[in-house]
């Protein structure tokens, strides 16, 4: 059932760091030797408005570009994506492929019966957890929600390990990075919260790691098959 490439769609709200997450995911995969491409949706960026980013990972070169219309994995970063329809697709899982995966950051179950029925029929597994709580508990800030989501993604995939995630996070936050306006503002806010950059890295890793373990455990429980081939 493992494929030679998978597509990930990450609907979020502006300011949550979904674009950063997509970038780190791709970088991490790239470190492990996978082919990887990441990009944000193309449009004006506004805080709390819909924001979407995409990551494509594969053991083969990836030519597909643009928005991911038919995802294998959909990661919902904020309940409002579903409850307020702050999404570019309706329903949020539109286009999802068979044997896919949905990860939802929420403390309550947001799916309707018909949602569940449809996803079941496609053998799509759904993980609903309060990943923001992870972030607040471990890193002391909601802004690390995206780190938790990243950990969950790789925990579910299983083929990319924690060292690669560490590389991805280090690459993003230690090197000089060209960010868009909103992202740059948030970077400086985050930096103010941590005395040293390395503190930030450490906290992010802890958060991602905890989410990784939780999701790997869950994947075993529900019998989630490997989605991506090993390199």
């Amino acid at each position: 059932m493992a494929k030679d490439s998978i597509k990930i769609r990450m609907p979020a709200l502006g300011g949550q760091g979904a674009v950063t997450a997509a970038h780190i995911a791709a970088t991490a995969a790239d470190t492990e030797g996978y082919y990887a491409v990441s990009n944000p949706f193309f449009g004006a960026e506004k805080r709390m408005a819909p924001s979407e980013s995409y990551t494509r990972l594969g053991t083969v070169p990836i030519y597909d570009r643009g928005e991911v219309i038919y995802p294998d994995i959909v990661m919902i970063y904020h309940p409002q994506v579903i409850t307020m329809g702050k999404s570019y697709t309706m329903p949020f899982y539109a286009g999802i492929k068979e044997n896919g995966l949905v990860i939802i950051n929420s403390d309550v179950d947001l799916l309707s019966d018909s949602d569940k029925k449809f996803l079941d029929s496609m053998n799509v597994k759904v993980l609903t957890r309060d990943f923001t709580k992870f972030a607040v508990d471990l890193a002391g800030t909601e802004l690390a929600t995206n780190m938790a989501m990243l950990g969950a993604l790789f925990g579910a995939l299983g083929v990319i390990g924690k060292p690669a995630i560490e590389e991805g996070i280090k690459d993003r936050f230690l090197k000089k990075y060209v960010a868009s306006g909103g992202t740059a503002s948030l970077d400086s806010v985050i930096e103010k919260k941590f005395k040293k950059k390395m503190d930030l890295i450490e906290k992010n890793l802890e958060t991602a790691s905890a989410a990784y373990d939780l999701t790997a455990e869950w994947a075993k429980e529900v019998g989630l098959e490997p989605m991506l081939e090993t390199i």
């Binding site: 193309f42 004006a44 697709t89």
Partner: protein, 400 residues
């Protein structure tokens, strides 16, 4: 003489009797005058009940532009002013048309390019304004001479493009242009192209109807989109939310809107056929194997060549394309049925008409298409040059 509207004689603000377009173009008695293209444009616009015009100087359209200004001073044109540059002018024209005015403007060469961003905006906004394009060469290097390379830049703007051959055609076409552009199922901008200097500054005889008649007023409430005048519920095209966001609805909306503009251009065909009396005009020998396909001045030059060839006992035909957008595919194919050699003489270096013709006739015609003679930068196209092409490409002893 059928003055059907004597019973309901309505006058416009300058006291002219408003008549049907058919009457002005086909029925009203005409008298002979002798004038340049620039001067004839004043005469045409004088009979068009024009609400608004905006001008800017650039050779060779400055004269036509200032003559429209005189019409305003004389009370024929509603509102008129000089804009700050062509980009500004075309945006001002857009504002006038959006607010419900029948609007005309003129430009040439570098001015056209300066205004470029406006033309797809015009067509997307579905405003039926008219641009008289007096074609002139594009920099670099600088030239103020006739050359119609600029038309190629306008081909995909979504505007209609008609091409006038001489002073007489400029008069009639620019009047018909308003009527066709303003049809509710068309309602897109129209560019009436004409060659600078060859027509704008050349004096020749023309037949004009009296100037006490004019087109009926433009009715902005018959438009497919409401005018911006706070007299009708607001139109939803430039400002709808789904066009402002990034999502699949907005992508599909944008694409379908643009397709609709091109469809609207195609819907002009029956009206253009009527008011122009055909999308193509054919002169010469019906069954000729040597066919010249041309527009504007090149068509004139081809007619000279046709005459010379006839004197030599060689048959030829001139197919003058009157509309470029919509492109007269069917009419061109029909007119070139007998062709074995098609020549496309042009006044530009790239041969944009040659490309259009070749693409149109691909796998439909057995004729060999030759995109020559091609002159540019102001060069005139003497008939000798055309004849030389014919003799180099056609074995005329075999009898054409």
């Amino acid at each position: 003489m059928t003055m059907k509207n004597t019973e309901m004689e309505e006058k416009n603000w300058s006291g002219q009797t408003m008549v049907s377009t058919d009457y002005i173009l086909f029925e009203a008695p005409r008298t002979k005058h002798f004038m340049t293209g620039s001067e004839v444009l004043k005469e045409a616009m004088k009979r068009c009940t024009v609400d608004a015009s905006v001008s800017y100087p650039i050779t060779p359209q400055s004269e036509a532009a200032h003559l429209i200004g005189e019409l305003w001073a004389e009370g024929y044109v509603g509102t008129y002013f000089r804009g700050e540059n062509e980009f500004g002018v075309m945006s001002e024209v857009a504002g006038c048309a959006m607010a419900g005015a029948r609007t005309v403007t003129t430009t040439s060469g570098p001015g056209t390019l300066r205004a470029m961003e406006n033309f797809p905006m015009w067509s997307g906004t579905r405003i039926p304004c008219q641009l008289i394009l007096m074609a002139r060469g594009i920099n670099s290097p600088l030239t103020i001479q006739p050359d119609n390379l600029e038309v190629s830049f306008l081909l995909e703007t979504g505007c209609m493009i008609w091409y006038a051959e001489n002073v007489q055609e400029l008069f009639d076409m620019s009047i018909a242009a308003f009527t066709v552009a303003e049809m509710p199922d068309v309602h897109v901008p129209i560019i009436t192209a004409v060659d600078g200097f060859f027509v704008s500054h050349t004096r020749e005889s023309v037949m004009l109807p009296d100037d006490n008649i004019a087109l009926k007023r433009y009715d902005p409430y018959a438009a497919p989109l409401p005018p911006i005048d706070s007299e009708m519920p607001p139109g939803r095209f430039l400002r709808d939310p789904f066009v402002m966001k990034s999502n699949y609805i907005s992508y599909a909306t944008h694409a379908s809107w643009q397709w609709e503009v091109r469809s609207a251009v195609e819907r002009s065909v029956p009206y253009a056929k009527h008011y122009l009396e055909g999308l193509v005009h054919i002169t010469g020998d019906e069954d000729a194997e040597i066919v010249f396909v041309a527009c504007g001045t090149a068509s004139h030059q081809a007619k000279e060549a046709n005459r010379e060839l006839t004197k030599m006992g060689i048959k030829s035909k001139v197919v003058k394309l009157r509309t470029i957008r919509p492109f007269p595919h069917k009419e061109l194919l029909e007119a070139t049925k007998s062709a074995k050699h098609i020549f496309v003489p042009e006044f530009n270096v790239v041969g944009w008409l040659d490309k259009e013709v070749t693409q149109s006739l691909y796998s439909k015609s057995e004729a060999k298409i030759v995109g020559r003679p091609r002159v540019a930068g102001g060069m005139s196209m003497p008939v000798e040059a055309i004849l030389r092409e014919v003799f180099e490409n056609v074995d005329v002893k075999k009898g054409a």
